[in-house]
């Protein structure tokens, strides 16, 4: 038997314009629980997708049991014994457990029909080895709790004779008791010689469960070590440890009055008692891991999602915002993180996208004043330096950075006082990033209130006057720019659930 069940050497995966994973290596031993951690965008998902044959790397070698493999598709990875339990479970809720366990495979009897007695037996055996013999294989999967549905997924991996089971944030939607059950199951699997790659955002789980841990950052391998040689600080250091270069042309505004105040925002399962205040002339950043509830907070403020409870005040006045239209009328602009899905109508021209959020302002009588629209659009193109052949070009033809500038133009046209920028520089090049920061500087100097949600810590440190750190739908910490805690390490610590002294 080879020393490693799965080994990656010098693997590089590129996407147009980005290197998602560079010269990555990892070795996973049979029968070990191997933790994998990293910041958002550190390349964990890419690694999973390379291991499961979804992404085909440009360079590097993959070995399974010491033998070189070249996965061309997910089926080959599965046949080689690599299975993955994704965060979003691949369960068909209407089908019974047994059909979910055998999805995509058909054990047949001598008549060529599905051999259900055998399938039930195997599924039951697999569930028993996981410590969940109580699951009835005839039961509709959708009627099981999330934790048990996950067991069905793991049983699927086990019956495929998987030697490596990847678990992508398996505990993120589980309750405390379910997490305990899952950990028991994971240990049982290890004792049977199955290797587990355990991807988690929770450091305490890693220390409780894992034998070894690998840290990734910016698509590269940072360290792999036995968990006994590591502590929380070492892991966080590994995840952030990059220098802050001077990419952030931060300028300061004059802090004015409170423009937006949120008190006790609650949304079942998403937000818990979120309160904050945002001021004129200031950039308030929201930091945290993906799924910490930052975007959800902003969507609720903007009236895109309903709140269960909580109060909002704009410039001291209590408001009840029921839809985005009302939010816009109240002076809120919301640049969404998904610019193609929520920010732009790609099939329409630049001109139309720039004026979409306040179209009624361009009316003269019942009709639109196209002359006014053209003037405003051309003005936007000039001041924001949107690179487009003309204002009549459809937005789909523009580059990511220029598309983002169109969205920014759309919102600056709205006479808003409160600007919410959700991941404003995601997926755009460095030059365009700096131009986005300059727009933020300009707005703050004009006395606007700016809220920036960002998953990039250097950006948060570079541009924010104040940071709110969220985790699992709660506000964990609030750190001012002049505080001692205004550094990557402490923000990261709060984001991972640690206490800041």
């Amino acid at each position: 038997m080879a020393e490693y069940v799965v080994e990656l050497k010098h693997v590089t995966k590129k996407f147009p314009g980005v290197v998602a994973m560079r010269d990555m290596h990892i070795q996973i031993k049979p029968g070990e629980i191997h933790g994998l951690v990293g910041e958002n965008g550190a390349g964990k998902s890419t690694l999973i997708k390379v291991l499961t044959g979804i992404h085909i790397p440009e360079e590097g070698e993959i070995y399974v049991d010491g033998a070189r493999v070249n996965f061309r598709n997910p089926v080959q990875a599965m046949e080689a014994g690599i299975a993955c339990v994704y965060q979003e479970l691949n369960i068909v809720p209407m089908l019974p457990v047994v059909d979910n366990v055998f999805m995509g495979r058909r054990p047949t009897n001598r008549f060529g029909l599905l051999d259900y007695p055998q399938m039930h037996r195997i599924a039951h055996e697999a569930l028993s080895t996981l410590g969940h013999a109580e699951i009835n294989t005839k039961m509709e999967c959708g009627k099981l709790g999330i934790g048990l549905q996950q067991m069905v997924e793991i049983a699927k991996a086990v019956t495929q004779d998987a030697r490596l089971i990847i678990m992508d944030e398996p505990t993120s939607s589980l309750g405390e008791q379910e997490v305990k059950h899952l950990m028991d199951t994971v240990r049982r699997l290890r004792d049977r010689g199955i290797a587990i790659l355990f991807v988690s955002h929770k450091l305490d789980e890693l220390f409780e469960l894992c034998d070894r841990v690998t840290v990734m950052r910016d698509g590269e391998h940072v360290l792999t070590d036995d968990i006994t040689n590591l502590d929380e600080d070492k892991l966080i250091q590994g995840m952030v440890g990059r220098s802050l270069d001077n990419q952030y042309p931060k300028e300061f505004g004059v802090k004015g009055s409170c423009y937006l105040k949120a008190v006790g925002l609650n949304q079942a399962g998403v937000l818990r008692d979120v309160s904050f205040e945002a001021y004129s002339g200031e950039v308030l950043a929201f930091a945290g891991l993906v799924g910490a509830g930052r975007t959800e907070t902003m969507r609720a403020v903007f009236g895109a999602d309903k709140l269960d409870s909580g109060d909002l005040y704009i410039k001291g006045e209590k408001v009840n915002i029921k839809n985005p239209g009302e939010a816009i009328r109240r002076g809120i602009a919301f640049l969404t993180e998904d610019r193609k899905g929520q920010g732009l109508v790609l099939s329409l021209p630049v001109r139309q996208n720039l004026t979409m959020a306040n179209m009624k302002k361009y009316r003269r009588g019942p009709l639109l004043n196209h002359h006014h629209i053209r003037q405003v659009s051309e003005d936007n193109v000039r001041t924001l330096r949107i690179k487009t052949p003309s204002i009549n070009e459809v937005v789909v033809q523009l580059s990511g950075g220029n598309q983002q500038k169109v969205v920014i133009g759309k919102w600056t046209n709205c006479d808003a006082d409160i600007f919410i920028f959700d991941e404003p520089t995601r997926g755009i090049d460095v030059g365009a990033k700096i131009e986005v920061y300059n727009v933020m500087n300009r707005l703050v100097k004009e006395g606007k209130c700016l809220i920036m949600v960002s998953s990039e810590l250097p950006e948060v440190l570079g541009m924010a006057d104040r940071v709110i750190v969220m985790r699992e739908g709660r506000v964990m910490a609030e750190i001012a720019r002049d505080s001692d805690h205004f550094n990557q390490h402490d923000i990261m610590k709060a984001a991972w659930g640690g206490e800041i002294a």
Binding site: M356, P389, G427
Partner: protein, 345 residues
């Protein structure tokens, strides 16, 4: 900063796509003119084509709005028929002959049906207008059968000629004593007026532009403060309104209210829009393109008639044209998707 502007390529291909239907129409004219000399290119026949196009143009205009929002209205045919039957029933069973009552009543009934389409779609959150309008199609058909007791109602010499006027009258156009057009149908003048109104509505009003936004990306529209549900409701209500107007024209053209005559209206309207550049994926389409598409279909029908081809052949040909148009639409979509991928960082 050094990022190059994504190159705008294949301007020619773009132009061809836009002019395609016009070129096909021209080609058909040449073919029919040579193969049926004197009969196809005659004043009477040309005016006949316009007359035949009017109803499809009216229904197609509403359909266009639905298609721009990435939806569809499958109830249009029977909605128009219901309008015609409303006129018939009010006349026959209630003795009403005033155009001032009959026409508004017919239009009101259809508009309400359209409003229901929109309401069902947006307030019950039905998954796709295919569902609500297909259901409504059957409801409207049933209603038409119910109120007419499944009988055909004749309009000849019933004293409602002013209701029928718009569907049957024609004009001669003289300029400086030269007879330029002879027998120009009043119904097509109505179409021109309606289309002008649609052009202004779609291009020069906030609501019109919002329809394109909702069709192109409903989520982005919502996040930009556009009340997508209200926009959709208005769209299907207008589609109903246009069916009502078409129903009035139909009364004059067919001289009867007949529940069996709606067979091709739905598909003809969809075909006119798609041929004219609208897409099932929404976000685009123009009113003049729709007119071109409607003319193209009528011309094919007319030409086939001149070849004495029966309904059978016509259905086959029109069906093939629709499939071809959709194929072109899908191809266009693939080309755009590729352009989108290239533009993605």
């Amino acid at each position: 900063m050094t990022q190059p502007i994504a190159k705008k390529k294949s301007n020619l291909g773009d132009l061809l796509m836009k002019l395609g239907p016009l070129m096909v129409l021209a080609l058909l004219y040449v073919i029919f003119a040579f193969t049926r000399p004197g009969r196809f290119i005659s004043m009477a026949n040309q005016m006949n084509i316009l007359k035949q196009t009017a109803v499809n143009c009216l229904i197609g205009s509403g359909m266009l709005l639905a298609l721009i929002t990435a939806g569809i209205d499958l109830s249009v045919g029977y909605n128009a028929i219901l309008a015609t039957c409303t006129i018939g029933v009010l006349m026959q069973n209630f003795g009403i002959t005033s155009a001032w009552i009959l026409i508004p009543a017919a239009i009101l009934v259809s508009t309400f049906a359209g409003f229901m389409n929109g309401t069902l779609l947006t307030r019950l959150d039905l998954p796709h207008p295919f569902v609500s309008t297909l259901g409504m199609k059957n409801v409207l058909w049933g209603l038409a059968l119910l109120i007419t007791s499944s009988k055909t109602i004749g309009f000849t010499n019933k004293g409602i000629d002013d209701v029928l006027w718009i569907g049957r009258s024609t004009f001669d156009v003289n300029i400086f004593g030269v007879k330029l057009l002879e027998g120009f149908p009043a119904s097509f003048i109505l179409v021109l007026l309606v289309y002008l109104a649609f052009h202004v509505f779609l291009n020069h009003t906030a609501l019109g532009r919002q329809i394109y936004c909702v069709g192109g990306n409903p989520e982005a529209a919502r996040m930009s403060g556009i009340r997508s549900k209200n926009v959709l409701t208005v769209v299907y209500t207008i589609s109903g309104l246009m069916c009502g107007i078409a129903g009035v024209v139909l009364a004059g053209r067919l001289n009867t209210a007949n529940t069996a005559s709606a067979a091709t209206y739905d598909t003809d309207a969809i075909a006119a829009c798609i041929i004219g550049g609208a897409s099932f994926r929404g976000g685009k389409g123009t009113i003049w393109g729709t007119m071109l598409g409607a003319l193209l279909i009528s011309t094919i029908r007319n030409g086939l008639n001149l070849f004495s081809a029966g309904n059978d052949i016509q259905y086959i040909v029109i069906g093939s044209v629709i499939i071809l148009a959709v194929t072109i639409d899908v191809t266009r979509g693939k080309v755009e998707a590729r352009a989108r991928k290239l533009a993605t960082l």
